[in-house]
């Protein structure tokens, strides 16, 4: 409640928490304001004045006929037309389709051996074209499908010979930024230092230098799946552990422990272009609203207890400072702290009074 010491009378009058108290909407056992006044007796006069302003500017209710309102709502609901699904979205059609597909698959499997089907997927091309960047400046490449690769210093990219047939497979040592053309039929696969990064169309960065202890895959846009490369000789038909990454998330692969850990990139960027131009200006804005706005702007999930933060407000104006600086400022004002876990920001707070 320390913020109220700096408040002008007009600010106090508008404060929701204060208004609730004056209008008797706080639970009886809540004595925060009474205690605050005992602690700050010099504020007695200003609080009295604010109190009478709240009472005086209380707006008179008008008649709200509950029955009419409910009737009107029902009338609207009766009036609207629910879209009927086209035939291919209806359940009977789906059921028939599934049966037909299973039947066809059964026929095909009978003619080809199961082994050969799985083999196709595992074939790792041996013959490949190779590009090496020994300079200091990044080397920009365009692949056969139009995807762009910015190959960083001392890095090497191999493009498999069957690139574009079943999959679009490349092999990376070092670091590169990928902007992959969308093509859901042909997944784009990057093999780097023991892990495979699979995308359909998106942009991301991979850092996999031989001399470093870990490998990092960081996502700029879209979705990316990362999993461990299967060791030669280990036949494992079930899919290995896959990690799904969304924008501003990254996965770190510890080479020694062979463990994939999901986290956030060091400097998350704003993913919504519309917000980019807009500054983050807050004037007594509920903290839950601020967090939701940041969540949408950066596409990063922020987990918090909305009930606990219900009384927390923020007055601040943010511009281009990094997301984590913004989080520091927010947490300082609401006496909270945050941690990054599993690619999300988790806020630990005590609540504001």
């Amino acid at each position: 409640m320390e913020k109220y010491l700096k408040y002008h009378i007009e600010d106090i009058v508008q404060d929701l928490y204060f208004r609730k108290w004056v209008l008797g909407k706080l639970p009886k056992e809540n004595l925060n304001w009474e205690n605050w006044l005992i602690k700050n007796p010099e504020k007695q006069a200003i609080i009295e004045e604010a109190k009478s302003l709240v009472i005086a500017s209380q707006i008179e209710e008008i008649e709200m006929p509950t029955n009419t309102i409910q009737q009107n709502i029902n009338e609207i609901l009766n009036h609207i037309v629910t879209p009927t699904n086209p035939f291919y979205q209806q359940n009977w059609f789906r059921a028939v389709a599934v049966v037909l597909i299973l039947f066809t698959v059964g026929l095909v499997l009978e003619k080809t051996s199961i082994v050969s089907l799985f083999k196709l997927e595992k074939t790792i091309p041996t013959q490949a074209t190779e590009t090496e960047n020994n300079g200091i400046m990044p080397l920009n490449l365009t692949l056969g499908d139009g995807s762009k690769v910015s190959l960083k210093k001392e890095s090497k990219l191999e493009v498999s010979t069957d690139f574009g047939e079943q999959t679009r497979t490349v092999f990376l040592t070092g670091e590169a930024f990928f902007e992959v053309q969308k093509d859901p039929q042909h997944p784009f696969l990057v093999y780097a230092g023991g892990i495979v990064t699979k995308v359909l169309g998106t942009s991301f960065n991979i850092r996999a230098y031989n001399g470093e202890n870990n490998i990092k895959v960081a996502v700029r846009t879209g979705h990316v799946t990362v999993y461990r490369e299967e060791k030669v000789g280990v036949k494992n038909i079930t899919h290995p552990e896959q990690i799904l990454l969304t924008p501003n998330q990254q996965v770190v692969f510890e080479k020694k422990e062979e463990k994939l850990v999901k986290t956030l990139v060091e400097k998350p960027i704003i993913i919504l272009p519309s917000i980019e131009k807009k500054s983050f200006e807050y004037d007594e804005t509920p903290i839950t609203k601020v967090l939701t706005q940041l969540e949408n702007a950066y596409g990063v999930k922020i987990i918090f207890d909305a009930d606990l933060l219900a009384n927390c407000n923020l007055t601040a104006s943010f511009s281009n400072e990094p997301l984590f600086d913004k989080m520091d400022i927010i947490c300082e004002t609401i006496y909270a702290r945050y941690e990054i876990a599993d690619g999300q920001i988790v806020i630990y707070a005590k609540g504001c009074k």
Binding site: S52, I55, I59, E60, E75, D283
Partner: protein
């Protein structure tokens, strides 16, 4: 841990946009009463405001696929409904110039204390002065106070609804508060102590 209200609001909005009747019903139950209250205050003819609101929501459903995803659903709905009210009114008063319309609108926002003064025909000199000051608040000031205190909206929402900039919205509220404070508070302290 639980999701914030606005997160579930966004989810409801998206479901509504994709044609989910249930989501639309949730939106109706949540926002219809506020919009109803607002409409009744903005237009003297209450049937007109009600008809307008019915059409507004049916239209909202029909246009759902083309709607944006607003920062604040409440502010978005209130602002669109307000525009529609004025547009419909313009149609029914077609002979009048458009510029007159904003002046023509009513703001039925009374303060509790006003009606107390009227009902009790209080004639104390300071209270008469008080009543006079209350009556001197402009329509826009009343509307802003209503949106801020009754509908409990933020300033960026108020500015969106009243189609004014953020700063003007703040000013409308602060100026009225200052005016009230300057003229009222002394008499009010006295007044409140005698009647409450």
């Amino acid at each position: 841990m639980q999701e914030s209200l606005s997160l579930t609001e966004t989810k409801t909005w998206r479901a509504f946009k994709s044609g989910d009747r249930k989501a639309f019903e949730i939106l109706l139950n949540q926002f219809y009463p506020s919009l109803y209250n607002y409409g009744q205050r903005l237009v003297k003819n209450s049937d007109f405001a009600q008809d307008c609101l019915q059409d507004f929501f049916i239209d909202l459903w029909n246009r759902r696929e083309n709607l944006e995803e607003p920062q604040s659903i409440k502010a978005y709905l209130v602002a669109s409904y307000r525009r529609r009210l004025f547009k419909e009114k313009e149609r029914s008063f077609w002979h009048k110039r458009v510029t007159d319309l904003e002046d023509e609108y009513d703001v039925e926002v009374q303060f509790n204390i006003e009606s107390y003064l009227i009902n009790n025909e209080t004639e104390h000199e300071t209270l008469l002065k008080l009543k006079h000051h209350l009556e001197s608040l402009s329509k826009r000031q009343r509307e802003a106070l209503y949106l801020r205190f009754y509908q409990e909206l933020e300033y960026d929402e108020i500015s969106q609804i009243m189609a004014i900039n953020h700063h003007s919205a703040i000013n409308l509220v602060y100026e009225s508060l200052k005016l009230l404070r300057k003229n009222w508070v002394v008499s009010l302290l006295f007044f409140l102590n005698t009647i409450l």
